[in-house]
Amino acid sequence: MIDELKRNSIEYLRLFSARTSLERDSAVSARLAVKLVTELLDDKIQQSLDRIGRLLQLIHRGDDIRTIFSALRSVDRRQRGQAIEFLDALIRGVGRSADDVATLLRLVVDDLPAEERSRRATELVGAFQSAHATLELLAKDQDAILRDLAGHSLSGLDRPRQPESLRLLELLERPA
């Protein structure tokens, strides 16, 4: 169970860091093909978070982990804070033998800006230096759909932008 928690937490952080890297490059992330990759990453990020929630529920059957995880997504900062406090106490209860899992879980649930979470996750999941490098990594992913979509996005990056964008670029670059 602890190993599964660890595996899913690392997967969450890997996908999250990949997504953050794509979003960082607005020119790349605005492309339709890259948007599909981002949407797929969002789904997979949510799925790994759901799995973490289910695993924690198995460890702590008496608590309503689903509701606590829902509160993590609340727009109300106070509610998010309470959920994190509760999960923190819960994670402490996992035991000393699982200290590294507790650290991972805190990084998953803590209320951090995306860039900061990615930065802290670097030593665990590697660095996603640029959107292009991220797409190259994802184009070798184990997940066939992610691999295909990332590969398609990469091939699109080598082609000129859509005609409207080219026209816009010309206007922007025209000397005053």
Binding site: A33, L36, E39, L40, D43, L149
Partner: protein, 301 residues
Amino acid sequence: MTVADGQRVKRELTLRSLFPTMPAAAHVRLIELLEDVELAAGELAFKEGDLPEHFLFLIEGRVALESAALQSVEFSGFAVVGVIDAILERPRPRACRALEASKALRIRSADWFDLLEDNAEVARAAVRNFASQLHGLWQTLAPRLPRRSEPPVAPVQSAWEIYDKILALRQATFLRRAGMQAIASLAAVAETEVLQPGEALFEVGNSGEDFFVVAGGQLELLHSSGLHFTHEVGDVVGGPAAFCNALPNYAALATVPSAVLRIPQQEFYDQAEEHGRLLRGTLAFLALELEALQAANATSP
């Protein structure tokens, strides 16, 4: 928690009335998740603005969903009350008040969705149940729905890669909340059918075992009653009829060069077991369509 034998039999009978096609194993699980509720006349089962954490299977009496701003909806006999808010994950727009002494079984919405996501047959029954209600209204009101006045003139490609299929399914209204994983999985099993003007997609008496999503062009849906409806890109051909086994009563033909993605229903429900958002998204689509048509029906002369 276990349920006493007498109560269990009563609940079993109630569930068989409400969900005749639900598998026995699902009944057994559902019985354990239900809680008895007795409402005195005037008592509220939930308030306006409450989160839809539960909904009710009404088994006796009469209740109404009420709000100062919206039209009231009454339920009596066996009925499912408050499930649409749970599907749409929105605060209650109406309170639920007992109009007379009433009995109901209450279930946590999360438990209900877990049950649906774990069992394709139950999921299918829930979708069919919603779609049947919607289909009745749709047959009456569909001709009044706004459609594009001119047929599309863009040529339709003949070769569809998986990427093209993903883009086409992403436009499908019933998949709007399904998520990219589910869409990509469906794209992997979808087959393309390219049609010339006047060519039939299916005739009356078809198997009704597939969903057809318009990926390009335009199709005309025809029913022996005289109903005809134009389907555009993003539509599932047949609308609610496709979700409640009513498609064999219809025919569909292309009015311009068109492309359609065919998804076997069994594949769809198998994917729904894998991807919870696919089922919830489909139910949300049906619930929104049902509400829109009910509203149109209530305001029409």
